[in-house]
Symmetry: D2
């Protein structure tokens, strides 16, 4: 679909919700291309994602969006419209390793991910050349001496560039709580273990020492609690006793870049809804 809307809705579960929502679209000749819904019985909550073709809409798209206001209030919903096509302004934060960054650049180049990378920000200078080859501004923000000042500089950059999504692509710094709050639901991290196993530093060493037969990676929203945010995607890979820590690092890279790429994809296509500590993901 080239022109259209994505609508995400969360509201208390009631009878007749799908009818009401579908009717509203139908009334203005908006065509539902895709509808996915989920009812969380424990929370008595209804979640839905709609792809709407606006090609034959009888009113303007703006008016259609505005017209939803009344229904949205009636059903006590949180809702969000996204106009298609779009490209989400995204900053990628890195430290030293580049495989996740490379993956994002490659998939963006192929048109797989509708994002515009506004900048690549590193607390080290290692990824500068990759950024420059890709013709994307690289900002080296020194953080050793004054971490807080570093984060303030990052924030200023994100503000200035009107960044809508922050991707921590193996950014080896713990985000301060105020940034987690400010970018709540808009900051995605890749952790190099199958969470909740091996939280914190050196997860591959932890995995090696525990002798697990599967290593993994977890893509999740960042919250104030370390490695505990809602999980979007996880990948695992089989390992054996003869794989040392370096092998786990090597094999793990494939989990990391795959889980991160899928996580970003789901987020930018509005296929995720945060539901307390969990993330609802309508995969494609």
């Amino acid at each position: 679909m080239h022109e259209g809307l994505i609508l995400k809705i969360t509201c208390p579960d009631k009878s007749g919700l799908v009818a009401k929502i579908a009717n509203h679209a139908s009334k203005y000749q908006a065509n539902l291309v895709e509808l996915t819904q989920f009812i969380d019985r424990d929370r008595e909550t209804f979640y839905a994602r709609l792809e709407i073709d606006t090609g034959s809409l009888e009113i303007s798209v703006d008016d259609f969006i505005a017209s939803f206001e009344e229904l949205g209030r009636e059903i006590e919903a949180d809702w969000h419209f996204r106009r298609l096509p779009y490209r989400m302004k995204t900053a990628v934060l890195v430290t030293k390793t580049d495989h996740c960054l490379n993956e994002i650049l490659w998939r963006t180049g192929l048109g797989e991910m509708p994002i515009e990378i506004t900048s690549i920000i590193g607390n080290r200078d290692d990824c500068r050349e990759i950024a420059e080859n890709a013709k994307i501004p690289f900002h080296h923000i020194e953080m050793k001496k004054d971490k807080e000042a570093g984060f303030r500089k990052i924030e200023a950059l994100l503000e200035e560039q009107e960044v809508q999504l922050v991707v921590l692509a193996r950014f080896m710094q713990i985000m301060p709580e105020w940034m987690c709050e400010k970018y709540s639901g808009k900051m995605i991290n890749i952790h190099h273990s199958f969470l909740p196993a091996f939280i914190g530093a050196n997860p591959y060493r932890q995995a090696y020492e525990r002798g697990v037969k599967l290593i993994g990676a977890t893509c999740h929203y960042v919250t104030g609690e370390l490695d505990a945010g809602p999980i979007i995607e996880q990948e695992v890979k089989r390992v054996q006793h003869h794989h040392n820590v370096q092998d786990l690092v090597r094999l793990g890279r494939d989990c990391e870049r795959s889980a991160l790429a899928k996580g970003i994809r789901y987020h930018v296509h509005d296929r995720t809804i945060v539901d307390g500590r969990r993330a609802i993901v309508f995969p494609d």
Copy 2:
């Protein structure tokens, strides 16, 4: 859900279909618990599956089903209602190996599959004991001398028991075309390869000789063309050069029982719709 309906619909794609269908349910206070839809762009066809809670329905379930007639015709649909709870009358056809049969019995016993096994039918006598332990009638139908007569006897049994689903659980006989037609969309086979590779006899030997690194199994609807019916589920497993044909047979059993169990599960929960040579599967 303990009382309710599953509705499957196939019709030409048009704007407003979801609204029309949801409205119809809403009009009688039927609650949509789950709605999954898919639009095939090539065929311009709309497919949907609805789970409907009839607990607060204002009319009788029979009247509700009857009331859909008008809408169904208007949108030129094929549709099907299933009343919940139900158990699908199922015959399992076997020859010698018992792992698929065992899997079905085990999952049925656990309540994972809402089927009632009316009988186990073998062209050999090998599975009699398993059937008897499970307290299910076993019918040994000799087919060596007169294959056609054998199939006629099987048909008579299926008729008599009002069987709705025929499962070929490693039944090593090619079904005659008249039976494929009669049980079109109601006969499921497990083939021991990842189709369309290795059609026909001895797929594990074929796989061994070709030196594949993955073996598999395919659960599909049976049609008149050998191993070419719509695929419901496939499973694969990694193998290595040191696995001989016997190893592939052993490892393949796990693919076979898993793919067959999922295939049956999707079918009996009305999660499949045949779409020409392909099967639409709404997985759970």
Copy 3:
């Protein structure tokens, strides 16, 4: 191979070990059918597993085993010979759920696992019928009132039956430390999570609440530390937000029975060597 030996060796790593071991076999015309070795660089330790065809051995098998004594001491090895064919005397401990027990019985029946199940022991009576159908003695040992007395009764049974392997097939009791020590390296458990995530009770509920996208099961040797013994095998399965705790239980069963079956298989074929907190596994 129908007649032969499996030899497992652990010793300090040195140059020429393979030559020495292979020479010893060669000297007596023992044929090496399979040799797998691994050198742990951190521990400077050599591990090997050999399958030896004794068909053309020039001395008796007993003498061959005895003749290894000298070499074993010279290379400061721990070693173990197993005569083939053999069936390992195995007790299966259960509580209520039967899927792991069923899997073991099914694979044993097929000849996949060279074990002789001496008894099935339950702290509840639920699995009695399955045991009786399989013609294996079932012992219900009540543990509610006096847990320690219960374990003493189990120990007495294991002693009496000369059990070599104890399988905890969803046995919902924590083993006392003295039993963990007594059956060190001979007691296998299946835990229903991908350890080290979700140690302890109700791992599927924990997994649901954490919102993981993969659930798993772990087969491990039992040690005094809960769910922390050397891991033999792990399996995972993809889940989604719409799967509730009951769904995770259902889907997890497949991980559990698969991981446990593989773990037992590796153990009884002498494909495992415990290496501190880790298990070396030479898979087949």
Copy 4:
């Protein structure tokens, strides 16, 4: 290991082979770091791969290699020594799509694959920029008018650069038989299906039309018979009815780059031995 040898051996199976080979190494104080062997019962053939640390070798590496001659003849072996460290001279042939090329460049850059890419050769000009960014010579060889002349030019380049490995990284031309023969066992292709399913053109379209639930990719040695050479590695990915051909192409890219990267890795680490129509692969 930084200095050493890899030795691959194929010979008729006999008793005492491991002892003879290990002794030979031991005699000159060569240390076996890794030994993997396999006996093909059907062909009565013994295959082995050894990693040898030459750090404490008592003679020169050249003399050690020469000294094997006598043993090699005695056991009627084909054998091959590779000196470590090394980088295999590799040419990458491409047409339009770049994901496989990118993957090779990325892994080579990380040091995962000990290859030196001597040139990237395209029958179209599309991949020139990637090659130039990576500072690797790009040769556009026009093949539309005179295919045979094009292949002769490619051959000349490969000769001139003393290429040891030719990688067809989605090179959309069928190799002429004389090139298949010349580079037998040295030319690797990635086919975008799980062979032997969907041989030839447009495998994703074939897969879509057949309605498979798994798509895949196959890395294999190129032989004169189209897509029928010995398979080194295969990868699959789950797909659903709603994935159209474009989705399969997108999802398949991940299978292709993964299978090709592993295939190359196994080949350049001498972990493959061609065994008739099959490839023995000792994975790492």
